[in-house]
Structures are given as structure tokens and as C-alpha cells.
């Protein structure tokens, strides 16, 4: 189930440009993500990687260019429309809800799937309770999957960095997304934590068949995990292809080793 079928394009980014006042974060970037694939976006700091994710996610609206997701092209997309469409996201520096426990954080991921209205939830009886239990059960599977049973009831503010990243991944998975955007999931982790996180990413791709778009600096991880890699530098796409092709391309080496532009 692992081999990404070549033809079906899940996400198509066409000529996207984004500028904040004078700063031109993205200049005419185009790339696609195939269904079931692990797609990496790499590049030196300030290359526009996170801005790219924010555009896909509807958080920033591009100045021009369009995004086609599952066949529908939308220039301006609200973040919660993206979420409803099936795009989930983790953040560079963890964006968890500090006032809630790990379990509640992941349960908020289920919010789109909840059918019962306000009155039913107030009664919390019969079908409303049944639905809540069903969501709880799905979340428990994710907790079991990410092996975070012991910290289920701990407020996230108290968790160490590595576990917070895992809870955030759990929240994204709880949305049962078609496309999962991971913004540097391994930043600030030690070797063992990185191994665990890579294992989870691979398992997510195999087990749930979720397409993953990954931003990461650790070259070993990127080359090992991803099927195809896109390289951004100063808002421009300078390379795109399989890990090996990208490794050899001179442009990438210059960008990383710092040849003067």
C-alpha cells in the first residue's frame, strides 16, 4: 500500500508569490504532491518554507498564483476551510492549547467530525454521549499508536518538548487528514526521539495512507524518509526530484554551502 501511484496529484501549487510589504517571501513557486507520497520541502533558513505551508493552509493569502487541492482550485482559502477539506498541520514551535490536557488537545482535533449540536452536547445523554465515546475511542487508538498512554491526563504545558511534538502530531492525526503538513517535526530532538518520530511518520504513511509534506533540516532524515524533495532558496524553487537527484544538483550544494549569489 506504500507505493505512491504516480498519476493522481493531490495538491498542485501553481506560480505562487507572496510578499509582506517589501519582503518577497515566495517568488513564483510551483510544485505538486502526489497522493500517498512523503514529499519534503527543504532549504536554508528564511527560504520561505514555513510561509509556503501557511499559504497551503490558508493562513496567508498569496498575492498571485493558485492552489488546487483535490481538484478544487481556490485562490483565497480560510484556514478552517482548509482543515475541513482535509489538510492538517503541525507547527515549527509547538502550538498546543496550554490550558488543556494532552487527551483534550487531541480530542479538539476531532471537532470537525462531531455531528451533535449544542443542545445535545449540553444533555450529554444517549446519542450525544455515544458520539463522544466513539471520538474518545478513535483518539485512544492514536494515543496507543504514538505510545503516549502514560501522559494522557497531563496538562501539555508540563510535558517535555519531544512529547509535546508527539501530542501535536496526535492532534493532527485526529483530524483524519488526507494531507499532513509537518513543519520541522524533529527540530530540537535528540537521536532517540528523532528515530521514534521518523518511525511514526513512516507508520502514518503506511498505516493510514496519509500524504505527508515535510519540512526538515536534518538531511539524513529527509533523504531517508521522503519520496520526492523540493528545494527552496530565497523564495525560489531551485530543485525538485527524488532525494538522489536533489543531492547531486549543483544549485542545492551552492545554496547550502553558501556560494555568493
Amino acid at each position: 500500500m506504500r507505493a505512491p501511484n504516480a498519476n493522481e496529484i493531490l495538491l498542485q501549487v501553481e506560480g505562487v508569490a507572496l510578499a509582506f510589504g517589501g519582503v518577497r517571501a515566495l517568488r513564483d513557486v510551483s510544485f505538486n504532491v502526489r497522493k500517498g507520497e512523503i514529499r519534503a520541502i527543504i532549504g536554508p533558513n528564511g527560504a520561505g518554507k514555513t510561509s509556503m505551508l501557511n499559504v497551503v493552509n490558508g493562513f496567508y493569502h498569496p498575492n498571485h498564483g493558485a492552489i488546487t487541492f483535490k481538484g478544487r482550485t481556490r485562490a483565497k482559502m480560510q484556514p478552517f476551510e482548509a482543515a475541513r477539506g482535509g489538510i492538517a498541520r503541525t507547527f515549527q514551535n509547538v502550538a498546543l492549547f496550554k490550558g488543556m490536557s494532552a487527551l483534550d488537545n487531541i480530542m479538539t482535533g476531532r471537532t470537525l467530525k462531531v455531528r451533535r449540536g449544542l443542545l445535545w452536547q449540553a444533555l450529554r445523554y444517549g446519542p450525544a454521549l455515544a458520539e463522544e465515546i466513539e471520538h474518545r475511542r478513535k483518539v485512544e487508538e492514536i494515543i496507543d499508536f504514538l505510545e503516549i498512554e502514560t501522559i494522557r491526563k497531563v496538562p501539555v504545558g508540563r510535558l517535555p518538548y519531544g512529547l509535546q511534538k508527539r501530542v501535536e502530531l496526535g492532534r493532527a492525526l485526529a483530524m483524519e487528514p488526507d494531507l499532513l503538513l509537518l513543519d520541522e517535526p524533529m527540530a530540537g530532538m535528540n537521536v532517540e526521539e528523532k528515530e521514534d518520530m521518523s518511525r511514526f511518520i513512516v507508520d502514518v504513511n503506511n498505516h493510514y495512507g496519509t500524504t505527508i509534506t515535510l519540512i526538515e533540516h536534518d538531511m539524513a532524515v529527509v533523504m531517508d524518509l521522503s519520496d520526492r524533495v523540493a528545494v527552496l532558496d530565497h523564495g525560489v524553487k531551485i530543485a525538485d526530484g527524488t532525494p538522489d537527484e536533489v543531492k547531486r544538483s549543483q544549485a542545492v550544494i551552492d545554496a547550502y554551502l553558501g556560494v555568493a549569489h
Binding site: M1, R2, R136, R137, E140, E141, I143, D144, F145, E149, T150, R152, R199, D203, N206, H207
Partner: protein, 656 residues
């Protein structure tokens, strides 16, 4: 109370339980955040389908099926289903290294292996070339096994499903299963338990169904266990203790067995499930006490003063209150207050507040440790047993509890002391012999059918209770003839929270020396509080302040030894602290953390010579295996410390 009689095999017992306690919970397992539970009726149906599935896989009566993994419902069901087909389940330690696993599987000629998860499956596959007769591997958790070739790898869940559909489809299969249950009789081999003997390769102890059930009936009646009781199954699957308490006694008494969520949530799960019957080796009680003391160190001063005050009260009145002996009214009141303020909350946090009967066995327990738990109201009793006796040889009845004895002979057990001081017994639960190893069986049995325990002991005149001194072969004599029981000394040393493990030398030597292992948790906590800087375990072990602290403990042991006429002479003259923790992976300990004395003596020979030639420090370099299997060497210079001898060193210990 379920009697034995015509139910002479486990599958028959299962049918009886379904009839008698159909709706009572048979098994609980903490999974996905809550305790999933199955009644006896549901378990019986699952076992029936599972047996049908296994039958279709080609499991034939008499064949052996190995079970590798921690306490999971599906693995226990594997054993029951195998016994339904009159096959023989062979549980193996889940933390066994690949070679050990390979030896046992080959020796037991297992045709099928039930593995818990990807880790165990990988281990089996890595040695599958040495196992010609192995044809299928079944597994419980599918996690990560998607990519494997599924020709020889089947999920247990699928087997049960396949069996269920097959049973529905062909009624004949159902009759075959029933027929095989009826055919089963007491003399079938119910299970083979591989002991991890301290010496030599593991031996497969064969236990017949009738022996197991008769022994279990005696012990359930002895402790009045009913179907209302609950047991937490947390000890290694392959250990006789867990198999007896969780599996066999569960079937006989009909009580519920609870499996924890994972190996590192045991304490939390015990707190949640609140077992009523509890068995644990002394090492677990010891660790619990150390952690308890360390946690109390950090409590607020008032709480600490309150805690120590009531512990003293417990020491004065605890024992009498527990055994119902007369206690002065003021004592009873203070103890009652203590119970509300300290003892009940203590047991509550440890998850022991509902325990009606608790046993400790497998190793000698320090008298102070034993007294501590009884004083806070835990009905802890000692038992002495071996895999060959399917656990119970002696067990203390509720009324008569002494810290230094292991109790009178268990019901229907006949014990005698050989002239060498070795304890020999005949019991309903005794084993049939070692699997495929007549030679060893002969060695272990006497001509008139008694089993040789290999432990030295004697019956105490007053209490008629058996007292174990030490391993028969380890009991030695000092050069000047005084008796030297290494185990006894080591237990006294280990009682102190800072000392985790101790090995004493003295057989045919002038004086006694000891090699100690400090307890990383307790000493690290001490270091932190006294802001003693240290980089690694090795540095901490060698630290002069640590030596001073341990020296104080050793001196205390010497003082207590001076008081005992028999062993006064065997006080510790010199000791050193080992630079690394003794570890089962390096073969220095058995799987149940017992010291492999001879192996250590050879490995640290240079240190032993240094102890006896008066040197003040010695160099040592040992080979170590890391967690992921890679090997490496550690070198260190270990210091030696001299102690003075205490009191009237007039040693009387001539003869036993």
C-alpha cells in the same frame, strides 16, 4: 470453592467455570485507556474458536507451542487453546537474548511460536535458521508488521476469526474439539517451564495437569481464594510463580486475572485494579521500599516527622494488631490513628490496600523488610518453592508468621532434611522430570522419589517451621571452620537502601570479604541532596563519601552478626564497590535477578585476589553488552576498604 475431582485438565476446568461463574469477569486488560474485560463464558467461546483455528493450522496433540511476550490476554489464551488440543505450551522469558530463545525453542522442538509484537517476531526470525521444525509464527500486536511476508506470519486475531467461521461452517470440527477435551486426562503434560538455573543451560520442567490442579486446589483452599478475588498478572510469563498464581489458580478458584497496559505502567495499573492476592519476589518489595523512602525524603518536614513517628508505632504494635494478639488500648488507638493517617494511604498509593493475602518467595527476604510490610498491615507471608515443585513447598499459615522462617510444609507436602543439610520434598505439584533430559532428572531426584532442592536448611525446634540458610553448595566453612552462609550475609547487606546487590566470599578463606553494588536511585538522590557532583554511575560508585556511607551500613551488619552465635565469626573484614551494575545481559544475574555467584567469581577474579592480598585498590576491565546488543569494555580502578570486627568474636559455628 471449586473442588478437583473429575476436572483433571485445564480445558475441563474452563468448561466448569463457564458453567459455574459464566458471567463473572475472567480476565481484564488495560487497553486504549480503559479496562477491557471478558467473562468466563466469553473466554470459553474465544478459546474454542482459537483452538479450532490452531487445529486448522496443523497443531497436533503432543506438539509444543512456544509463547514469547509479556502478560497479554491473547498469549494466555494461546496456552489454553494449545491445552485444549492437548498440545504443550512452553512460555519463554520475553527479555531473553536471541541465543537463549533459540536454545529453548530448539530444545522444546516447538512447531509454532506465539510472539507478542514486532520486537519478539524479529527475535524469532533472526534465529529461525536454527529452528528446522518451526513452521508458523503467530503474533498479537500487528503494529509495524504490515511490511513482513505473511506466508509464515499470522495474526492471532485472524486465527480466532478463522476458527469461529470454521466452527460455524463445519459442525464436525466442533465435535473434534470436544472429543480432544474429553480425551485429555490428568497425566497429560500441561506445561513445560524452562528454569533459568544459576548453573548451566536452562532445563525444561514438565508439569502434569493433575499435579498442577491438585497443588492449586490445596493452596486455594489454604488461603480461601474465591471467584471474588483479583490478581494482577505482571511477573514474567515463563516464571513458575506467575503461571501458578495468575493462570492455574485463576482457573481453579475462578477469580479474575488483570493484565497491565504495558510493562512500565505496572505500578499505576496495580493502583487502579487493586488486587486482593499478590505475589512478588523480595527484590520487588525491596525496590518498592527504597522508592518509598526516597519519595518521603523529599516530603515536607512535618510530614516526614509524622511518617517516621507512625512507622515506629507500627513497629511496636503492627505485628500484634495484624495477627490479633492482645495490644494495650493506647497502642490500639494510636495504631488506628496511624492506619488512617499513614498506613492506609501508603498502601492505597502502592495499590496494596485491597490485598488480603500477599506472598514473597523465590529468594530469602531480609527480616527487617518483611517486618516493615507486616507492620503497616499488609498480610505478607513467606513461601519457599521451586519450579520443580510448581511453586509451593512450604507456606506460612495466617496465624504463624516469623520473619526468618519459610513456614511449615504446604498441605500434602512431605519434607525431610538430608544429612548434608539439604532439603528434600515430595509434593502433589512435583514435576514429572526435565524434558528430554533423563540424566539431569536422575540427579535432581533421590532414589526413593524425593526431589533434591539444592538448598540447605533446618526445622526450627520451637516453630516447626523450615529455615533456609543458603544454597546447599554455597554453604561453606571459613579456614578456621566457622560456618559461612553467603546468602544470609548478602540479604542483611541488601536490606539497606543504598546497597542494591552484594556478593560475599569466605569459603575456605581466613576471613569474609564482600563486593557491593550501590543502588543508583537511592545514592543519586542522596548525592543530589548533599550536592555531590558526579558524572556517571562509575564515578558515583567510586566516590570516597559513598564509600564512607556504605561502610557505615557494613559496620551495622557486622554488629547484628556479632549478636548471632552461629554466624558471629563470619563478619565482613574488607569490602569494595563494583564500578558497574551487575546485569543479566552480561550473564551476571539470572532472568529473575538472582546472583550467578560462580560466574562472577571467575569474571572478577582479579578483584577477589586483591581483597585477600591486602591491596588497597585493584584494576579491572570487563566486557559489557549495550542495550542494542553492541559489545564494549569498561576499565576502572576500584578501591578496597577495611572494617573492624565487633564484639566477642568467639565463633561457635562448628557444626550445623
Amino acid at each position: 470453592m471449586a473442588g478437583g475431582g473429575s476436572y483433571d485438565t485445564f480445558p475441563k476446568l474452563l468448561l466448569r467455570n463457564t458453567a459455574q461463574f459464566g458471567t463473572r469477569p475472567a480476565l481484564r486488560h488495560k487497553d486504549l485507556g480503559i479496562w477491557q474485560s471478558w467473562t468466563w463464558a466469553e473466554v470459553a467461546e474465544i478459546i474454542r474458536s482459537y483452538a479450532a483455528g490452531l487445529h486448522r493450522l496443523g497443531l497436533r496433540p503432543g506438539e509444543t507451542i512456544a509463547v514469547v511476550g509479556s502478560n497479554r490476554p491473547k498469549l494466555y489464551w494461546t496456552m489454553m487453546a494449545a491445552q485444549t488440543l492437548r498440545a504443550i505450551p512452553v512460555p519463554v522469558y520475553s527479555d531473553a537474548v536471541a541465543d537463549e530463545l533459540a536454545f529453548v525453542l530448539a530444545h522444546a522442538e516447538a512447531t509454532l511460536v506465539a510472539a507478542q509484537d514486532q520486537e519478539q517476531v524479529d527475535k524469532v526470525l533472526s534465529v529461525s535458521d536454527r529452528l528446522p521444525q518451526l513452521n508458523k509464527i503467530v503474533y498479537d500486536e500487528p503494529r509495524g508488521l504490515d511490511g513482513y511476508d505473511h506466508s509464515r506470519l499470522i495474526a492471532i486475531g485472524d486465527i480466532i476469526e478463522d476458527g469461529r467461521t470454521a466452527l460455524a461452517a463445519e459442525p464436525t470440527l466442533g465435535e473434534q474439539i470436544d472429543e480432544s477435551i474429553r480425551a485429555g486426562n490428568g497425566s497429560d503434560i500441561a506445561v513445560i517451564l524452562y528454569t533459568s538455573g544459576t548453573t548451566g543451560a536452562p532445563k525444561g520442567v514438565m508439569l502434569s495437569a493433575r499435579n498442577c490442579i491438585d497443588a492449586a486446589i490445596d493452596t486455594t483452599r489454604f488461603d480461601r481464594l474465591t471467584d471474588k478475588d483479583v490478581v494482577l498478572a505482571y511477573l514474567p510469563l515463563a516464571w513458575a510463580g506467575d503461571h501458578y498464581v495468575s493462570y492455574v489458580q485463576g482457573l481453579v478458584a475462578g477469580y479474575c486475572m488483570a493484565c497491565p497496559e504495558s510493562s512500565d505502567t505496572i505500578e499505576q495499573d496495580r493502583h487502579e485494579i487493586g488486587p486482593t492476592f499478590y505475589l512478588a519476589p523480595p527484590r520487588i518489595f525491596e525496590a518498592m521500599l527504597t522508592r518509598l523512602m526516597v519519595r518521603m525524603e523529599d516530603a515536607a518536614p512535618i510530614k516526614r516527622r509524622l511518617f517516621s513517628y507512625f512507622l515506629d508505632v507500627a513497629q511496636r504494635y503492627g505485628e500484634q494488631v495484624l495477627t490479633g494478639r492482645p495490644v494495650p488500648l493506647s497502642g490500639r488507638l494510636i495504631y488506628a490513628l496511624g492506619r488512617w493517617l499513614v498506613y492506609e494511604p501508603l498502601k492505597n498509593v502502592l495499590g496494596l490496600s485491597q490485598v488480603r493475602v500477599a506472598y514473597t518467595g523465590g529468594e530469602a527476604i531480609g527480616p527487617d523488610l518483611f517486618a516493615f510490610y507486616r507492620s503497616i498491615g499488609l498480610n505478607l507471608k513467606q513461601l519457599y518453592g521451586q519450579t520443580e515443585a510448581f511453586l509451593y513447598v512450604t507456606c506460612q499459615p495466617d496465624g504463624e508468621i516469623y520473619p526468618d522462617t519459610v513456614g511449615p510444609p504446604a498441605p500434602n507436602v512431605d519434607i525431610r532434611i538430608a544429612e548434608t543439610g539439604e532439603v528434600q520434598f515430595r509434593s502433589p505439584g512435583m514435576f514429572l522430570g526435565y524434558f528430554k533430559d533423563q540424566g539431569k532428572t536422575a540427579d535432581a531426584m533421590t532414589s526413593d522419589g524425593y526431589v533434591r532442592t539444592g538448598d540447605a536448611g533446618f526445622f526450627d525446634e520451637k516453630t516447626r517451621h523450615l529455615k533456609i540458610i543458603d544454597r546447599a553448595k554455597d554453604v561453606g566453612r571459613l579456614a578456621d571452620g566457622t560456618m559461612f552462609a553467603p546468602k544470609y550475609l548478602e540479604n542483611k547487606l541488601k536490606f539497606y537502601p543504598n546497597i542494591k546487590e552484594a556478593i560475599t566470599f569466605g569459603d575456605s578463606r581466613e576471613f569474609v570479604c564482600a563486593m557491593l553494588n550501590i543502588d543508583p536511585v537511592a545514592v543519586a538522590n542522596w548525592a543530589e541532596r548533599n550536592n555531590v557532583a558526579y558524572g556517571s554511575y562509575q564515578e558515583l560508585a567510586g566516590h570516597p563519601l559513598v564509600y564512607d556511607m556504605v561502610a557505615k551500613d557494613v559496620a551495622a551488619v557486622n554488629r547484628s552478626l556479632a549478636g548471632e552465635t552461629v554466624l558471629a565469626g563470619a563478619q565482613i573484614r574488607r569490602f569494595l564497590i563494583l564500578h558497574k551494575e551487575l546485569d543479566a545481559d552480561d550473564g551476571e544475574l539470572t532472568r529473575t535477578q538472582k546472583v550467578r555467584r560462580r560466574f562472577i567469581a571467575e569474571r572478577y577474579a582479579s578483584l577477589v585476589t586483591a581483597l585477600y592480598n591486602g591491596a588497597h585498590d585493584a584494576d579491572i576491565s570487563t566486557e559489557v553488552t549495550f542495550e542494542d546488543g553492541r559489545k564494549g569494555t569498561i576499565a576502572a580502578r576500584v578501591k578496597i576498604r577495611d572494617m573492624q570486627i565487633v564484639g566477642p568474636a568467639k565463633s561457635l559455628g562448628r557444626a550445623a
